[in-house]
């Protein structure tokens, strides 16, 4: 048992369990809190995968994004608005969970069947260099300029759209 395996089991377990909790809690506040934990454990997994910069970006971006989500939950939640899942139409939902389980097993089978680990060459040294800020910056500003500018316009569209839709007094 190396450190890496221990960390993977802990972080992966946290990610899996919290994702279940997020979608099953009746209270959105609890869901939001566990979503934070889920994203934090994903950041840890990114570190394990030598994607240092992505891990940092994950923490920065989702700390902000989730904070805002949380705010909205507090702002919009009516007392007593907590729904009971599986109470309405329980049969349909149990069937949905069974279908989801079957699909999951199928994917697991498929992943082991194709065994991608044979086709990917695990060069640890290359991956350490691939995840640094330098490598990402180099790739982004040489080959990926068009997507980069497109992302700028995407964020502009989101800013305009958010203002148009949500500003209280708007003319």
């Amino acid at each position: 048992m190396s450190l890496e395996i221990i960390l993977f089991v802990i972080l992966g377990g946290v990610a899996a369990v919290t994702s279940v909790i997020v979608i099953t809690r009746p209270n959105p506040i609890i869901s939001a809190l566990f979503l934070v934990l889920n994203f934090a454990s994903l950041a840890g997994l990114y570190l394990l995968l030598n994607a240092q910069f992505i891990a940092v970006a994950q923490v920065i971006v989702y700390a902000g994004a989730i904070m805002v989500l949380f705010l909205f939950v507090i702002m919009l939640l009516r007392p007593g608005n907590e729904e009971k899942i599986f109470s309405r139409n329980p049969v349909v939902k149990i069937i949905a969970s069974i279908v989801a389980g079957v699909v999951f097993l199928q994917i697991v089978y498929m992943i082991f069947f194709t065994s991608p680990s044979n086709s990917v060459t695990g060069e640890v040294s290359a991956s350490v260099n691939a995840g640094t800020v330098e490598a990402i910056g180099r790739e982004l500003f040489t080959n990926y300029i068009l997507p980069f500018e497109a992302a700028g316009f995407l964020l502009l569209a989101a800013a305009i759209g958010a203002l148009v839709l949500a500003k209280k007094k708007f003319e």
Binding site: V68, R78, L140, A157, A158
Partner: protein, 101 residues
């Protein structure tokens, strides 16, 4: 790398399916939205896992752009939810039904 990539893929597939189940079974618009975030993040985990096992930067760049997209969607989605809430005072997507669904 001691952990085979399969385990990362299975973890991300599990999160993806939890996201789908969340979208399909939950009725609160904000929780549906959180489930969608889960789906996007599971795709990100797949990207990073493949990228680092191949020693390749492109996948990590893609994660970057997916984060930008998730942020844009978060902003616009919350704005839509807020606009709806002003007029209707509900987050339950089953109560949102003047148009036939």
């Amino acid at each position: 790398m001691q952990i085979p990539i399969e385990y990362y893929l299975i973890l991300s597939a599990f999160m993806f399916i939890m996201g789908i189940v969340g979208v399909l079974t939950r009725r609160n618009a904000i929780i549906v939205f959180m489930s969608i975030e889960l789906m996007l993040n599971s795709a990100n985990l797949t990207f990073v896992a493949f990228a680092s096992y191949m020693g390749n930067t492109i996948g990590q760049l893609f994660v970057f752009f997916v984060m930008a997209v998730a942020a844009a969607e978060a902003a616009i989605g919350l704005a839509i939810i807020l606009a709806l809430f002003r007029n209707k005072m509900t987050l339950n997507i089953d109560e949102v039904n003047i148009l036939k669904w």
